[in-house]
């Protein structure tokens, strides 16, 4: 087995290692891009158990969300904000399994305007897409996506986003669309779903979250910044 095919064993890496360390892999020869300290960084979390993704898939997702949402003075990286956890849990949920989606045949290739027509559920789609993405990455760069240096990851994601990356039997553009959408959900949704750790994104925006009762404030704060410690559903449960 080559280095590229050695599976990632997070539990062997030990506790307390943040997502960025996982993303750089075990035998990285190129240095990871220096990252500015994250604003309001939460304590580096313990690796969490995975529900739907395997280690390789999880490593891909961590690398991808950290590229889509890099750490900077505005927020920690995507994975440090729990976005990879969010994605794993959503894929394991009923939605990930295809609930509330018409799956009767016949399955025909339609026009883009006719929407999604594949037989794959969201979790099946993501897994097939990650496999296709890594295969393309190996062909193009010689290694899996999560083993690429930060600048190459940006380059790779741009190519996938534009549909320029040729995935075998899979639509790169559609895959990016789904990955991007789930990343945004994971960054901005209520933390009860595993993402938006410590309400980092809400804090970043100035979105107050709950209880969202403004009747007595809307006049007073017209054209005035409303500053409040964001609160989530859990804070009210």
């Amino acid at each position: 087995m080559t280095e590229e095919t050695i599976p990632r064993r997070r539990f062997l890496l030990g506790a307390g290692i943040a997502g960025t360390a996982v993303a750089t892999g075990l035998n990285q020869t190129e240095p990871a891009a220096a990252q500015a300290p994250a604003a309001a960084a939460p304590a580096a979390p313990q690796p969490e158990p995975l529900l739907a993704l395997n280690e390789t898939e999880h490593a891909f997702v961590v690398a991808a969300v950290d590229t889509l949402i890099p750490a900077d003075e505005l927020s920690p990286s995507g994975s440090d904000c729990g976005v990879a956890t969010y994605i794993d849990r959503q894929l394991a949920s009923a939605w990930g399994g295809g609930a509330k989606s018409y799956r009767a045949g016949p399955f025909r290739k339609g026009k883009p305007e006719q929407g999604y027509q594949l037989a794959l559920t969201p979790v099946e789609f993501m897994k097939a897409g990650i496999a296709a993405a890594n295969e393309w990455s190996r062909k193009t760069y010689g290694r899996d996506f999560d083993r690429l240096a930060a600048d190459k990851r940006v380059e790779a994601l741009k190519a996938i986003e534009a549909g320029k990356a040729e995935f075998a039997n899979f639509s790169a553009r559609a895959f990016f669309g789904r990955l991007h959408a789930m990343t945004m959900e994971g960054f901005f949704s209520d933390p009860i779903y595993g993402g938006n750790r410590n309400k980092a994104s809400w804090r970043m925006l100035g979105f107050p979250g709950l209880p969202a009762t403004y009747a007595h404030l809307i006049d007073e704060y017209r054209d005035k910044r409303y500053v409040a410690e964001p609160r989530s559903i859990e804070d009210f449960s």
Binding site: D72, S75, G98, Y102, G110, E113, E185, Y214, A215, I218
Partner: protein
């Protein structure tokens, strides 16, 4: 094995807005009414509470309260020559389900048609000549005038406690209201909602251009309010979680708040939830729907419910499906133009907008109600001269975010990347300093926009899915282009730090991005049984005891959100049933 039940006076198929209104009016007239609702008996107190009601992912993104396409959906093609494919995941429109239907989680924009909308073909012909309406644009006059419907508009608005400012009170135009509206007999039941920052900016800009801005007519109650049913609505919290969410304050008018508590307490009404209606039992010779067949989805048992009167309140697609599968009326054939069931399907020309960014203003988009902006009607209907423009119809134009929920609402200036450091910088920078101006264009009927039965795909009950043949047409694109110019003018007049480019409807109809749940047509109302499915009282021409509710009776769609008209027409039809039909059952209109 179907179990036949004892006959009841009336059955209402679907208990949303129209089902609730009809059931209430008929029980008040002394009838025993059974309401068949395929979904669950969902009531605000249990289902819409803090904190869970503020779950953006669950309600707005995962569409928790909407129809399950696994059980039933619609197939779509652009033109009759193509193969229609199923909408596997909801996107462009989000049909509701469960008790109260979409009325439990709509935004609350509550309108009346313009007087000219009621007489569209006549009005346009009179003003611009016959050639102004292309042959393939199959618009028609509505067989009820604005003046006839006015008391019923008023009734529905009072039911909902609509917040707004009249612009035409018994003929007198009032500045600050919509001066283009038809004359109202009464002021709105509630004063307008408190204006947002975006609304204020819009108001100033519109006035500076000589337009006539007014507050959105809103079924989000601005104050606590007791309606004529004796039911009380709370005051809007401006929580910014309106569309797609239930309202924990009972401020958003819904059947669940405005009618159902009274209806459910009435002995003459029986609600059957988990009752999925399969088909109507139609006696063609007798011109009557004898019974409604349904499945109790909790047990799998099939029932046949005989009824004296049958009301279809099952939303556009199921209204059409039930008529087509029962063989009531003649199915529309686009080749010959004959038949009326499925004809004149229309939608909305929405998604026209422009973004504006203000470095020095705090917009606070998260303090918002569902129907909250400031609007102008100067470019709606025939409120402006269309001579030489090459299209007819128009759009209301609104500024005022309904939410600042960050999963989906994060405006950034044009050219901003969609991810990475620059994306994050721009998102954080502009989140509280931007909003969009939007225009909702009318959609006039076209001979090749219609509904029929799909030959290939079926729903979970084995019935064919409704097939939608639909695309935007020349009139729609020309209107959208024109609106782009108006949007740009308004945006400029706001003097923003950054102004986006106007984004107007172009290209083929795409089922993926959300546009609007204003699907209309398919069982249009008219004066001629050969070219319409129901008469002016919404009574089916071919089945005297069948009354069809909802926007499926529209001959075309105006710019306005349909619910105000839908509610008024439901009361109008109920009035005809209780004052005419019950005394003398039979056709109410002799064509």
């Amino acid at each position: 094995m179907t179990i036949t039940l004892k006959e009841t006076d009336a059955v209402v198929v679907g208990v949303g807005w129209t089902g609730s209104i009809l059931a209430r009016e008929l029980t008040k007239a002394g009838l025993n009414v059974v309401g068949l609702e395929r979904g669950a008996k969902r009531m605000p107190r249990e289902n819409f509470t803090i904190p869970s009601v503020r779950d953006d992912l669950k309600y707005a993104v995962r569409q928790e309260l909407f129809q399950d396409t696994q059980l039933e959906t619609v197939t779509v093609r652009h033109s009759p020559g193509e193969t229609a494919l199923p909408i596997r995941r909801l996107g462009s429109f989000l049909p509701g389900t469960d008790l109260g239907g979409a009325g439990a989680h709509w935004n609350g924009m509550t309108w009346r048609w313009l007087p000219s909308d009621h007489k569209l073909r006549s009005h346009v012909t009179e003003r611009y000549g016959k050639s102004a309406i292309p042959d393939e644009m199959t618009i028609e006059d509505f067989p009820v005038s604005y003046d006839e419907l006015e008391p019923f508009y008023d009734k529905f608005e009072k039911l909902c406690g609509v917040s707004g400012k009249a612009g035409n009170l018994r003929g007198t135009k009032i500045d600050g209201g919509n001066v283009f509206e038809g004359p109202r007999q009464n002021e709105y039941p509630n004063p307008p909602l408190v204006r947002s920052m975006a609304g204020e900016i819009m108001d100033k800009a519109a006035r500076s251009l000589g337009y006539h801005p007014f507050p959105a007519p809103s079924s989000n109650a601005s104050e606590t309010y007791t309606n004529p049913e004796g039911l009380t609505l709370g005051a809007c919290e401006y929580c910014g979680h309106c569309e797609r969410f239930g309202c924990e304050a009972n401020a958003k008018a819904s059947p669940n708040v405005c009618i159902l508590p009274a209806l459910l307490a009435d002995q003459r009404f029986e609600l059957r939830d988990y009752a999925q209606v399969k088909e109507l039992v139609y006696d063609k010779a007798a011109r009557k729907v004898r019974a409604v067949r349904y499945v109790d989805t909790r047990t799998g048992e099939e029932y046949e419910q005989p009824a004296g009167i049958v009301v279809l309140g099952a939303y556009v697609f199921n209204n059409v499906l039930l008529m087509l599968t029962a063989g009531i009326g003649e199915p529309y054939d686009y080749r010959t133009g004959k038949g009326a069931v499925g004809k004149n399907y229309c939608y909305q020309v929405s998604g026209n907008g422009i973004g504006v960014f203000f470095a020095d203003k705090e917009i606070n988009p998260f303090m918002a109600a569902g129907a909250h902006g400031v609007l102008i009607d100067d470019f709606n209907g025939d409120n402006f001269d269309h001579s030489g423009l090459g299209f007819i119809g128009g759009a209301w134009i609104q500024a005022g975010p309904t939410n600042g929920r960050p999963i989906l609402t994060r405006p950034v200036p044009p050219g901003t990347p969609r991810w990475g450091r620059e994306w994050k910088q721009a998102t954080a920078k502009w989140y509280n300093h931007a909003f969009g101006i939007g225009a909702s264009g009318c959609n006039y009927a076209h001979r090749e926009n219609f509904l029929d039965l799909d030959p290939t795909y079926r729903d979970a009950l084995g019935r064919p899915l409704i097939r939608m043949s639909y695309n935007f047409r020349d009139n729609d694109y020309k209107l959208a282009q024109y609106l782009g110019g108006v949007l740009e003018r308004l945006a400029r007049a706001m003097n923003p730090t950054i102004m986006g480019k106007p984004n107007v409807k172009r290209g083929d109809y795409n089922v993926v991005p959300y546009q609007s749940t204003h699907n209309t047509g398919g069982t249009m109302s008219g004066t001629d049984p050969k070219t319409s499915a129901v008469n002016r009282y919404l009574q089916a021409w071919d089945a005297d005891n069948l009354f069809v509710m909802g926007a499926s009776v529209f001959p075309q769609n105006t710019s306005y959100n349909p619910t105000g008209v839908v509610g008024a027409l439901a009361y109008w039809s109920a009035h005809a049933i209780t004052t005419q039909y019950l005394k003398s059952p039979g056709p109410l209109v002799h064509a």
